[in-house]
Subunit: 549 residues, 2 copies
């Protein structure tokens, strides 16, 4: 049996486009003599549809789309993900289902059993969990259908409680009673660079544990915060990787199951974190623009590392001709800021304007004088500068229909070292899930084949340049130290006591965590963040805006 | 048996304060010869703790706090809500539990069975559902403990699918096997003015259906978006209301269960929607400030109805001495704008400054001229004004430590008729869940005992005053019409076809819904909204930022 793996990029609710893409690949599979073509989880409507699933019109359109696909299934079988109606009068409206279609007929609908409901996932919000298990015989093979999380026997996320498994049932254990020859898993498993190895291990272990080969088809493409990397695979019954599709791009490959034991096992790919983050972010920006129908991007370049790295990612995602930069020096900007920013724009051949904020700043400060009187310069004046820059970017955006990209990094978002409505402005945060120390690494990675980010931007001490001779280190611990504390607190939910046991200074740890807690209100109004770790700010991290812990 | 109902206002994670409040009321109950005192759901840690429940240090502190409470339980029994550990190695870390404590001993821990996971609720994210049911005998009465949603047999929210019940199990049916004499329900049930009657009906029906009396204790107080109204009750076995605690304030009352049939049944309270919304919003603002340690509020007054109504609510929540207003006229402001705003501030005795944005606006426009060249005035220049106002408010906020309140209403948030980082700025949106037509009603309600909101503010046609002679009606349908379409689409998930069947013009309906969908990105960065309906923008409505439905 020849199985085609269709690793495609879907657009939520764009039924016409999704249907065309799916049908084209069914025909392509047939032309290539595949017996079966496998698409990913909720492929018909796109994943994650979120509360659109609560709309009966959305669900009806999904069914109509699925029906148009069904009619194209001739002389081949298709496995595809879509919701299905829960026929009971009680319970959630829908199941998250895998459809097995053969000769225009839906032969089996197997529902998802393990519904992820943690981090960015809210599947219990929409779906009834499955409790019936069936396999299907096709071309002499007995096939067990599973959906994404169904295979995650282990704890799928960081947990400081004494837990070994998140779920109390094991769908695969149930399905194995039928002695399937193949397990097929259709997935919509979002990318995080620090979980890449986990996925290989978990899936390989499942094959070894049950002695069954696995075809795993994941979607690719980004939907605002979530980036899906694809990375679909075929595993042997010993957990060896026999086929691996690329990350961050669509692909279509056919695997001959008769020859699974003749095919060489692929070596474990040593992935490069920076390459993964870089490619993931490029895809994230590209899809945000393409799927929302935007063309042109605008970025404020400060000469600093965050805007530089953001800029390069956006330029690589959209092309130089679709990016514009604005440099907005103030009286506190050092000479090198403009020079570094100009050099960067020229390195990648992107147009830019220089717009000084001095006169606007003076006008605002003069306007405020009757109220501020002779109170000393403080954060108010600092933020006026940052907000004027945000205002100018948005004015340009409104005039020329460019989308402003946000340039904040995860470290500053964590401790609130940024100005709401100022440098926190923008439609999409490119680096909001990348700690400052990783931003430096990303810049180095971008320069691996020659200077793109100016060397001076990388080596100079970080500064917001909102008052004379300001340095980030005036207000914050060194980023090496800061990022370590933040990682323990945010990604690992470590307590202050746990972090202190690792030898950090108590006053620093307490101050950092206090800042993280105090600035929840800023992050609430932050741009959506492209997620590249297992714990990003946004929908996956829900901390009360009012609490005293 | 005398049962004390403790309807209290908790602060999430403020264990010291919550413990003191709870212990004080245990003593108070004892002094008043109560046999049992009932606190609300997750009272110990406050509700909703959200992802703080994923932190083992938070949970440990909750247990320590519960233990300090337990030691105070002498010669009385206590029913109180707190999480408990799931002892199994598999499954979610916690249960959402009701503790029955007597003589320093935890006699029963009954877990919540029905975990709401829709709208603003994410309880499946944290809790394992209960499947074991026990009642407890105390003072000759057999008591069944339930937690909030456990009693909601019917569909708890709008649903266009063919469903009759959301849950497949009924905890009360299971508990009734023990023939309890009383059902006690500890709740954290958020307020929405359009569900007030539903709650009475659902709870009364439960009593009638099972022929059992009910003590229902709900928490009161606000936590950012969510406002809890209290409104605790005692129902007879016939569903008659025998005791009703007030809405939006703490209360403590003792009910003598021996006399339940002698006590007069309370008449069904005819509530006034405007009174409920008004009082709810006042509490929402008050608690946001008190629990976050803020004192002073700042509001930009335009002379229009939204800022006027916001202003009065904030003034009533915090007192005139804690509110300041800024009036920011531009060249497009009409004379009456400043007059109306001044009159309003004077009506409620609040200080204000007038800060013209003209010079700042001119400076920014001049700065942009080399880039904008001779392109005509458009939304870019309009938004510069709105953003300068936001910037001035934030500058004042930074200088004088005032918190800026947002003045957007639900209608404009829905269709994106507002400027991101401009009039959409602010720490908390007071009217973001109140449609424009309801804002007018609220103004009339505020004026019921004499003019507070100037009459002219109420009767003049709404205008953003960002260009000469601008009116809202230039860009939007009449608010009467707009709000009806929005309500059907947002609150009721109606399809375009369903809405058209009600006789609205097709082009208007399609344009309104297109605007709602297009502006998801603005709402993503909007201030948290005080929720007063069953479907507010924010955590309870999760629409993809990238979709084409």
């Amino acid at each position: 049996m020849k199985i085609a793996l269709a690793q495609l990029n879907y657009h939520i609710g764009n039924f016409q486009k999704n249907a065309k893409k799916i049908i084209d690949h069914i025909h392509k599979a047939k032309e290539n003599r595949a017996d079966l073509v496998v698409f990913s989880e909720l492929a018909v409507c796109g994943y994650p549809p979120q509360d659109l699933l609560e709309r009966s019109d959305f669900v009806e359109d999904t069914f109509a789309c699925l029906d148009s696909i069904r009619k194209e299934v001739k002389d081949i079988a298709v496995i595809i993900g879509a919701p299905s109606l829960n026929p009971n009068s009680k319970g959630k409206n829908l199941y998250n289902s895998a459809y097995f279609i053969e000769n225009e007929k839906i032969q089996l609908v197997q529902h998802k059993t393990l519904l992820p409901d943690y981090d960015v996932f809210d599947e219990c919000r929409y779906f009834e969990p499955n409790d019936k298990f069936h396999t299907i015989k096709y071309k002499g093979y007995r096939i067990a259908l599973t959906i994404c999380e169904d295979l995650w026997d282990k704890l799928p996320q960081q947990n400081n409680f004494a837990k070994t498994e998140l779920y109390t049932t094991s769908p695969l254990k149930r399905l194995m009673k039928d002695n399937p020859d193949i397990v097929i898993n259709i997935a919509a498993s979002p990318f995080s660079y620090d979980r890449d190895d986990t996925r290989t291990t978990i899936l390989g272990d499942v094959c070894k544990k049950y002695g069954v080969p696995l075809v795993y088809v994941n979607q690719v493409g980004a939907h605002a915060e979530l980036i899906f990397d694809g990375d679909s695979r075929v595993f042997s019954d010993k957990g060896e990787v026999k086929l691996q599709l690329p990350s961050f791009e669509e692909d279509f490959q056919i695997f001959d199951f008769e020859k699974i034991h003749e095919i060489d096992t692929l070596p474990l790919q040593k992935t490069n974190d920076m390459e993964l983050i870089h490619d993931g972010l490029v895809l994230g920006v590209k899809d945000y623009f393409a799927k929302n129908g935007f063309k042109k991007a605008l970025i404020g370049l400060s000469g600093g590392i965050d805007s530089a790295v953001t800029f390069v990612i956006v330029q690589r995602a959209l092309g130089s001709e679709n990016v514009h930069a604005i440099l907005m020096p103030s009286e506190f900007s050092s000479d090198h800021s403009v020079d570094d920013a100009k050099k960067l724009a020229e390195n990648v051949d992107v147009s830019y304007d220089i717009i000084s904020i001095k006169k606007s700043y003076d006008a605002v400060v003069n306007t405020m004088t009757p109220v501020f009187k002779d109170l000393p310069f403080n954060v108010a004046e600092e933020n006026i500068q940052a907000r004027l820059r945000g205002l100018i970017l948005m004015a340009y955006s409104n005039k020329f229909a460019h989308l402003v990209l946000n340039t904040s990094n995860k470290s500053e978002m964590a401790v609130g070292y940024g100005t709401l409505y100022g440098d926190m402005a923008g439609a999409l945060s490119v680096l909001g899930d990348v700690y400052k120390t990783k931003v430096f690494e990303l810049a180095r990675y971008m320069n691996k084949d020659g200077e793109v980010v100016p060397e001076h931007t990388i080596v100079k001490p970080p500064s917001a340049e909102l008052r004379p001779n300001q340095k980030d280190s005036d207000s914050l611990p060194d980023y090496d130290l800061l990022d370590k504390i933040l990682y323990r607190f945010i990604e690992q939910n470590a307590s202050i006591e746990d972090i202190l046991q690792e030898g950090f200074a108590e006053d620093v740890v307490r101050r950092v965590i206090r800042l993280v807690n105090l600035n929840e209100y800023k992050r609430y109004q932050a741009a959506p963040v492209l997620r590249v770790t297992t714990k990003s700010f946004g929908i996956g991290r829900r901390i009360p805006l009012v609490h005293k812990f």
